[in-house]
Amino acid sequence: MKVSDNDKDMQPLVRVENLMKSYANRKITGQCEEVRAVDGVSFTIFPGATLAVVGESGSGKSTLALCLACLEKPTSGNIQFEGADISKLAEKERRTIRRKIQLIFQDPASSFNPRWSVLEIVAEPLALQGSLSRDEIRLRALALLEQVGLSPEMERRLPAELSGGQRQRLAIARALALEPSVLILDEALSALDCSTQAQIANLLVDLQSARDMTYLFISHDLAMAAHLADEIAVMNHGRIVEQGPPDKILKQPQTEITRELLAAVPRMTFARPEAQ
């Protein structure tokens, strides 16, 4: 679902204002050096929309994701989610917020407890809700697996026995189990090969229209970001240096960093030998 201009009066689902997160980096000499991973970032995401955050590694994208998912406390600034500030909540309240904002990680191999079966992995968040019986949990988990395109026959497999794409599908199923309103995809496609990337991207698009999901898509791949997102924010050194609709970013890049990211996008023409 793309957000058109006449939706402007809609309430944003996420509003981030001047978010800052710094870490103290202690040197051997005992001096403390402040490292600002995220340095004054502001943006809004509307319900059902996708915002892509694109940047090189080390530009602060993942820290941003952790802050948004309530897994890190921001140093300053605020994060409004469904109209309420969630950046300064106590740990217990943060736990309930976390369920509504789910993360998908880059490395699908290590995002699962290696001892749990596929069914156990998807059932875990369902069991956390505490109100479901064992049979209900199983049925729901199997339904989730089917929704992300995994065969229910895989329920007893271990994560190590799945392919990269299957693992990422499993990660998505697990995240959906808590029925979150926001899904943060932190380089979720980067570890996959091209055709698998396309399949998972299509799955994400399908899920978005079926469940009215809101995505924060974090990547270094500008082309994929442009394909999935309604809006792209380019990050560099903890700041958003450029922001706009995909067309504009691709066709009229304003900053050097965006041009570099664009140059890194593989194009079919590169593969063809130049005419002599």
Partner: protein, 323 residues
């Protein structure tokens, strides 16, 4: 099942190998228990020769080994020359004393190492964790012998603790609580020495295993599901980090009989340690072999238990094993 059978096969193989080696080496060592009798002019050479024949010391090694194995299979571990009695009951009394000491020490050491190691891993790199690392490093540098001697010095200087033995001379005259207190007083220092000698190793392993798992994204994912920190540490991280710890636990059980020899000798605890040392010096053949065999049994049993636990705890091993 095949995994367990294979493990069991290994254990039997190991047991045969160790007993054979123990038998061969103790026999290869020069002299035997009756050699010293020859220096005594009052014992006739014929008597010694008769004794040697009676105990089959003049028979070739393979035949003696075969006899010994068949008697072990019937529950008889041989005969002690020095005590003039079967080996097994002798060993058992000493082993019981040793186990009283080592099992208590092992439970204490694990009981301290688990929570402390987890806590340390959670606060990795902070000041308390660094101090703890420094402390364990320091403890590891101190040789066990120095540690045991140190505690002996404490016992002597303070006068509050007995300097050896398991119970006081008037033990039998004490009432039950008094007996317990007396035993505890005698155990306190050897146990402290034992705990201090194994704790650094355990602590470091627990800390390292946990620290590795705590970084894993699946814990972050679980935290993202709104699970509390405590549940995360003990129900998610600890089981995931358990494999090396289970192996280490098996090793702990394996060293229950042999790990405390030094402390026992220094602090004169009436366990296997001083007993075996004496037997070795006297060339009391079957006692030595029996002692070696008993501690091998513990080592094998400990490892086998660890394998069972691993099999039970980790589905990956189960699937690997069924392939």
């Amino acid at each position: 099942m095949r995994y367990l059978l294979r493990r069991f096969g290994h254990a039997v193989f190991l047991l045969v190998g160790v007993s054979l080696l123990a038998f061969t080496f103790t026999t290869l060592a020069p002299g035997n228990y009756f050699d010293e009798m020859r220096l005594n002019p009052q014992i006739a050479p014929e008597t010694i020769a008769a004794l040697r024949t009676q105990y089959e010391l003049d028979r070739p090694l393979p035949i003696r080994y075969a006899h010994w194995v068949s008697s072990v299979l019937h529950g008889d571990m041989g005969f002690s020359f020095a005590y003039n009695s079967p080996v097994l009951p002798l060993l058992w009394v000493r082993a019981r004393n040793t186990l009283l000491l080592t099992i208590t020490a092992m439970l204490l050491a694990w009981g301290i190492a688990l929570p402390l190691g987890i806590w340390s891993a959670e606060h990795l790199g902070r000041l308390p964790d660094r101090l703890l690392s420094l402390g364990t490093a320091a403890l590891m540098v101190i040789p066990d012998l120095a540690l045991a001697l140190g505690f002996l010095v404490i016992a002597v200087k303070s006068g509050r603790f007995p300097t050896g033995g398991m119970v006081s001379l008037h033990f039998e005259s004490l009432a039950f609580p008094g007996k317990l207190g007396d035993l505890f007083l005698h155990m306190a220092l050897p146990i402290t020495a034992l705990v201090l000698s194994v704790l650094p190793l355990l602590l470091r392993h627990v800390r390292a295993a946990l620290a590795e798992v705590l970084d894993a994204p699946f814990l972050l994912a679980a935290e993202g599901h709104g699970i509390s920190r405590r549940t995360l540490l003990y129900r998610y991280a600890l089981p995931a980090a358990a494999n090396p710890l289970i192996s280490l636990f098996g090793f702990s059980i394996g060293t229950l009989l042999s790990g405390s020899l030094l402390v026992e000798v220094v602090m004169s605890w009436p366990g296997l340690g001083p007993f075996l040392l004496e037997a070795i010096l006297a060339r009391d053949l079957y006692v030595v072999i029996g002692g070696v065999l008993l501690s091998t049994l513990f080592l094998i049993g400990g490892n086998f238990l660890a394998d069972l636990l691993l099999y039970w705890a980790d589905p990956r091993i189960r699937t690997e094993a069924s392939v």
